[in-house]
Assembly symmetry: C2
Homo-oligomer: 374 residues x 2
């Protein structure tokens, strides 16, 4: 990534942020990254929205892990979202732990960090914070909002909440609402965190403890939902880990156990347990139809945005049926929508992996919108 214009940026919103709960977040911090240059007419701005455990480092090295950006396959030189022609912004969501205001941020009264005093937020609140940050950056209308998973929820929310402010929406591997099963898996993760005595009622920073074991279990449970059964079988099957026979004990005999344990342990080095509670809660609360008596189409009645909806056939977390439901609502609302179900063995995680067809679809969709705008 050569064309980056900044690194590790953050800003404090000039105004307090009203929240859906009725609470107000006093002038929250927003951590963000940008790539490319804003065109003179401001018409080339693309907002990338991250998923549950993602962050603003979409195409730049993660400051804690040293790993490449989480979506360099989609964002970068020669990629569908390209700093050579787009001004790309990616912000850490509020409630997060990578520079935006969240439960691990200092409390405004100077009394330690927010902890559970942080107000419960929603996807709409995340989007409201992003819009306020874009105001502060002098960016009005977005050429596109692009996201997968929870990022796709934000992208859909953008069109509903700021119908005149976004020209194109790309929502990948996502849903317009969290299902009972989605909520159930999140609740297991939250209970795992809150069951850890080191969570200390959310005040672990003040207590000098760390609910790493609970957060690790939460991540393990969630991680299974990101992969398909076939993908797990193809990758691990019943293969043993560094041994010829089972060990008749509770060590990680199987590769899949070792893999999951690693996923859990490495996650806690880069993520805050309370942020996990708040962001999963925001996702569980997400249902674009709630404001319209359970009907989804009215959520898209006001926008003139074009939509690109992409699902993966092995994604059982946000299955294709949920994308079809979005497409039906969009068509019913008279919107222009391109819908593609892609085949992949990798389950929900497919959107983060090498998927040339996904790239071709997003590239074509974005270019056709740029052509129309030109």
């Amino acid at each position: 990534m050569n064309a980056r214009s900044s690194l590790h940026r953050s800003l404090r919103l000039p105004h307090d942020l009203p929240l859906e709960s009725g609470a107000v977040l006093p002038r929250p911090m927003i951590g963000y990254e940008t790539y490319g240059e804003l065109a003179a007419d401001g018409g080339n701005a693309i907002l990338i929205c991250h998923a549950l455990t993602g962050d603003q480092y979409v195409a730049s090295t993660h400051p804690l892990t040293g790993k490449p950006g989480w979506w360099t396959r989609m964002v970068g030189r020669g990629r569908p979202v390209d700093p050579a022609r787009h001004f790309i912004i990616c912000m850490n969501v509020i409630g997060g732990c990578m520079g935006s205001e969240g439960p691990a941020s200092p409390h405004p009264d100077g009394d330690g960090c927010w902890g559970l005093r942080f107000p419960v937020i929603t996807i709409a609140d995340m989007v409201r914070a992003q819009a306020a940050a874009l105001d502060a950056l002098g960016i009005g209308r977005l050429l596109a909002v692009v996201g997968g998973s929870m990022g796709g929820m934000q992208a859909l929310q953008w069109a509903a909440q700021y119908p005149d402010r976004v020209a194109s929406v790309v929502a990948i591997a996502t849903a317009a609402r969290h299902s009972a099963q989605n909520i159930a898996f999140h609740e297991v993760g939250r209970q795992a965190i809150m069951a850890d005595p080191e969570w200390q009622g959310g005040a672990y920073t003040a207590a000098g403890t760390n609910p790493a074991r609970g957060l690790s279990v939460a991540r393990m449970a969630a991680h299974i939902t990101y992969l398909s059964e076939a993908g797990l079988t193809g990758k691990f099957g019943r293969n043993l880990q560094d041994r010829a026979e089972v060990g008749f004990g509770f060590d990680a005999d199987f590769q899949v156990e070792s893999y999951l344990r690693y996923q859990g342990m490495s996650f806690v080095d880069r993520f805050d347990a309370n942020s996990y509670l708040y962001i999963t809660r925001a996702m569980d609360y997400f249902d674009l139809a709630t404001a319209h008596d359970g009907l989804l189409a009215p959520a898209f009645a006001a926008t003139s945005a074009r939509f690109c909806i992409v699902s993966f056939d092995s994604d059982w977390l946000y299955p294709t049926a949920e994308s079809r439901r979005i497409v039906q609502a969009l068509v019913a609302a008279g919107r222009h929508v391109s819908f593609v179900e892609l085949s992949s063995p990798h389950g929900h995680d497919s959107f983060l992996l090498d998927a040339p067809t996904m790239n071709a679809v997003v590239d074509g969709f974005l270019r056709s919108g740029e052509g129309a705008a030109a």
Copy 2:
């Protein structure tokens, strides 16, 4: 249930029990229940095998919960397995916690309970213990072995391990091996238990602690896998629990959260955390093909038993594809097999619920075997 011949029975095996690991279990206790009377020729004995968190109280009141038996829809007067014509035995598996030798049993040397000193067991070990207990009860050949889920694994194992000792096998909602995804979910549960400081390295009884929170989280994660996405949506959807609007907090806003929490909390009152570790481990180790270079058919080469395989279309824990694999192996081995995939919205749990077609299938299969035997 009127025709019970006994209650809360147990026996100590007259010999030590050799285990697959090479360890030996010194004269283990076996808790069991029986219903009906053994025919003079001993030809009407049916063994019911229970699932992961089941026990011997298949058709009698659970002594801890006071609830009816877990499979009164299948076992009872006028049911497919009927004490009016069958002598029905159901035993708690070794490693369990309802009367059979397990980690919560007293250690033979008198030094507290076994805890993690209990040897790791397998499905084959469970079946070997059952066979030894049947020897002690004077029961040779079984008219049938019947089980669902882990009970189905034991039923299949019976045919492979004691090919001349069982005439009919009924294996419902099960698999001949644990998949990578199956192992992954179990590993999450084990890690949740072992992450609980009150687990105390397995020595919680001696320590006077109780890893209830870890066990509860394990049960919650597992419980999701017992239900289908459609079933959860149909039963709970996004319905709120005793409130008109979300509470913007971490209480159980949604019915599905409240339901899961209840499932977790009530489970710990009747189940031992170490037993959960041992039995999930036994299931993960289960692969009938391992002894035959990865081929399943040879496992059924020696038996002359008839098989009835039943799956449910919404069961994603042990999906129909796994039953088809068993059927293919049975046919390849020249066995008689009846296979039925039933439609149900209730996922894996379907085998425990009201399923008239399942009952009709099992009833017809058992009666045709009895006719042949007569």
